[in-house]
């Protein structure tokens, strides 16, 4: 058995830190499989809700015979069902995630968020999977599973990923059928297309979470003359000096605010995560952001 890599070894601490965190669905789930989330279906679970008069076609086994004996009326005993919430985490592997160049803090945080959220979803009994572009620009997908080692499998896939290129996220979002989608991204790629795909998913009954990863160096670039080059669109090269810095900060803040507003308006759960925030803390915020 191969020895774990340093990164692989480090996510153990993250799993410990997020143990006990629950990630409830934002609304009732229509899944048939029993799970931890409220289901849109009324079933026979032990969690009683109400009585309803028997109608033709109801299962006679659900009639409350004791109540029939007392009141001579046939009532059916109703109860809320519990269901699982298949979850797929989409990890952005575009070149902009490999920032800062020396520390790659955005990419490391995105990896940790993916593994941490997968662990939380798995702990709730939900099937969990991951999708990302591999170094050959092909979509590497691990379908949602509930088996015991699925988190380790997700960690292996995530840790083997490498940021680069400018592959869009929207096609992946459209192709996924999981009830819960989580986008771990810096939204600097095809953000508008991805939002449209996410809206479609939400309209079809799913839920979408966005973990917007922002580097501290993007918020506060080095205070020196800098010829800033977009790693995904090399033709964009602009001089960042003191005279343009304030306007940059204002534009970036305005864009982030606009992005958050639009994604929330589209029904998604939006969480901005700065690279100097601990991953476990960010996982808790994302999980709690889904609660109503």
């Amino acid at each position: 058995m191969a020895a774990p890599t340093p990164r692989a070894a480090s996510y153990g601490a993250l799993l410990d830190a997020v143990r006990g965190v629950h990630w409830p669905a934002r609304r009732a789930v229509s899944s048939l499989l029993p799970g931890a989330h409220h289901s849109t279906l009324r079933g026979t679970s032990a969690e009683f809700t109400e009585y309803r008069l028997y109608r033709q076609g109801d299962d006679p086994r659900r009639v409350d015979w004791r109540l029939l004996a007392r009141s001579d009326r046939a009532y059916i005993r109703l109860a809320n069902d519990r269901a699982v919430l298949p979850t797929t985490i989409v990890l952005d592997t575009s070149a902009s995630m490999a920032f800062p160049v020396t520390t790659r803090e955005k990419w490391r945080l995105a990896q940790d968020l993916t593994i941490g959220l997968a662990a939380v979803a798995h702990a709730d009994g939900d099937p969990v999977g991951v999708a990302l572009h591999d170094p050959r620009a092909m979509v590497a997908m691990l379908p949602p599973r509930t088996r015991r080692d699925v988190v380790a499998e997700i960690a292996r896939v995530v840790l083997s990923g490498e940021p680069g290129g400018s592959e869009p996220l929207a096609p992946i979002v459209r192709s996924l059928r999981s009830a819960r989608l989580v986008l771990v991204t810096d939204l600097l790629g095809d953000e508008e297309d991805a939002l449209r795909a996410a809206r479609a998913h939400i309209v079809s009954g799913g839920e979408v979470h966005v973990a917007h990863v922002v580097a501290r160096e993007e918020l506060d670039p080095p205070r020196r003359t800098l010829l800033a080059a977009d790693p995904e669109q090399g033709f964009i090269q602009r001089m960042l000096v003191e005279s343009t810095r304030r306007e940059y900060e204002e534009r970036f803040a305005s864009w982030r605010s606009d992005v958050a507003r639009r994604w929330r308006a589209g029904g998604a759960s939006y969480t901005e995560v700065i690279t100097d925030e601990p991953a476990s803390h960010a996982v808790r915020r994302i999980a709690s952001a889904g609660e109503r």
Partner: protein
């Protein structure tokens, strides 16, 4: 190797150091750095430069240093001596009256070694070429070591590019009369020792010496001159009328002094003065006469007596191996001025040997030691720096520097285009 202008090397060195320093403090367009949010930076035309402490543009630096070095070397003017350690030689050959035998001078000059330049001198100096010394004759003029050394100083510059040092070989009896008041100062200008090859000096021939006067008892000048001692160390003939052929023959002989002292206006064919006047006195090296004396002629030559206003009153001309003295002083026959002591004092210089009083005795040893000097030979670099000296490498080095600057310009432009 030596340099015409060594300070140019120092200046070029300072320029090279400044170039390297300038390349260390490079100001350049900032290098593009990834920033995923670059799209939010305002798109304005900003010309920014960054400063970094790192050696940049090594090719340009090398080209610039090479260009500066080539130009500096060109201006400094390298001189590569053809024969390192070679000694050039200037032979100063004495042909004055002090020399007993010019053959002895020639032999001594040959023993001094191969001469690059030969200068013969008496009262003046003349540069000879090749074996012209063999054809040079002895002069009756007084010798002048000052003139000889000054002439050597003048030609030394032409030897500077051919040798490292210059030796002067002085072939001369170095008699007392050849050393004047200026000699020590002129000798001090020569920056090295001088090899003195002494030859035998002329001797004063006394046996036939004496003053030969005209037989005219009425002539006051003859009367006055007859009061002088007859034994004066040389043969003197005083002619009061026109010079005859016999006088000319006599005057050509060795050390004969023919004094042509006309008694009247008609006794000489000298050019007349534009205005004939009278003056109150005349003086020679030995004395002066204060009297009203008429001035008829304007004589030319080496002055041996002058009127009170400085105009020559008596001149000496070389004539064969002897000399002729033209004395344009007319004494009134009725005057008794010639009978007094001042006339005799005045006349003594007129009867002196040719060229004045002869002093062929060798200079004392201290004077000779000072003349020879001590220490090394004169270095040729002491004679460089004159405007006519140049380095044959200078134009090539300057062309190389200009070519390197052109290459630097091309490289700089191409690198700008690439950027």
């Amino acid at each position: 190797m030596s340099w015409l202008l060594p300070s140019a090397l120092a200046i070029a060195g300072v320029a090279c150091v400044a170039l390297i320093a300038a390349h260390f403090i490079a100001r350049d367009r900032p290098v593009a750095e990834p920033l995923p949010t670059a799209r939010f930076v305002p798109d304005r035309r900003i010309h920014a430069r960054t400063t970094s402490i790192a050696l940049s543009d090594l090719l340009l630096l090398a080209l610039r240093i090479a260009a500066v070095a080539a130009i500096g070397l060109g201006i400094a003017g390298p001189i590569i001596a053809g024969a390192r350690g070679r000694v050039a030689r200037i032979v100063l050959a004495d042909r004055s009256r002090s020399v007993l035998s010019l053959d002895e001078v020639r032999d001594s000059a040959r023993t001094a070694g191969a001469a690059d330049i030969v200068i013969v001198f008496d009262s003046s100096a003349r540069t000879l070429t090749g074996s012209a010394i063999d054809s040079a004759g002895k002069a009756g003029a007084i010798g002048s070591l000052s003139a000889a050394i000054a002439a050597a100083h003048g030609v030394a510059g032409s030897l500077a590019s051919r040798a490292d040092s210059i030796e002067i070989a002085l072939v001369s009896p170095a008699s007392v009369e050849e050393i004047d008041a200026a000699t020590p100062a002129i000798r001090a200008l020569w920056p090295g020792r001088i090899r003195v090859l002494r030859v035998r000096a002329e001797t004063i021939s006394a046996p036939q010496a004496g003053v030969e006067l005209p037989r005219d008892s009425e002539d006051p000048v003859v009367a006055g001159l007859s009061l002088l001692p007859r034994e004066i160390g040389t043969s003197v003939r005083v002619v009061r009328g026109r010079l005859s052929a016999a006088d000319s023959v006599w005057g050509r002989e060795n050390a004969h002094v023919l004094v042509h002292w006309p008694a009247s206006d008609s006794a000489a064919d000298w050019p007349k003065r534009t205005s004939i006047d009278a003056i109150g006195g005349v003086a020679s090296a030995s004395g002066a006469i204060v009297a009203r004396l008429p001035r008829l002629w304007a004589v030319t030559g080496r002055a041996v007596a002058r009127w009170a206003d400085g105009e020559p009153a008596a001149v000496e001309r070389s004539f064969g191996a002897g000399c002729i003295r033209d004395v344009a002083v007319i004494v009134d026959p009725a005057s008794d001025v010639t009978l007094h002591a001042p006339f005799r004092d005045f006349s003594r210089a007129l009867l002196a040997p040719c060229g004045g009083v002869q002093a062929f005795a060798p200079a004392d040893s201290a004077t000779l030691l000072a003349l020879a000097g001590t220490g090394p030979l004169a270095p040729t670099r002491a004679f460089r720096g004159s405007a006519d000296e140049s380095s044959r490498f200078t134009p090539w080095l300057l062309v190389l520097g200009a070519a390197l600057l052109l290459v630097e310009l091309a490289v700089r432009r191409s690198s700008k285009v690439a950027a």
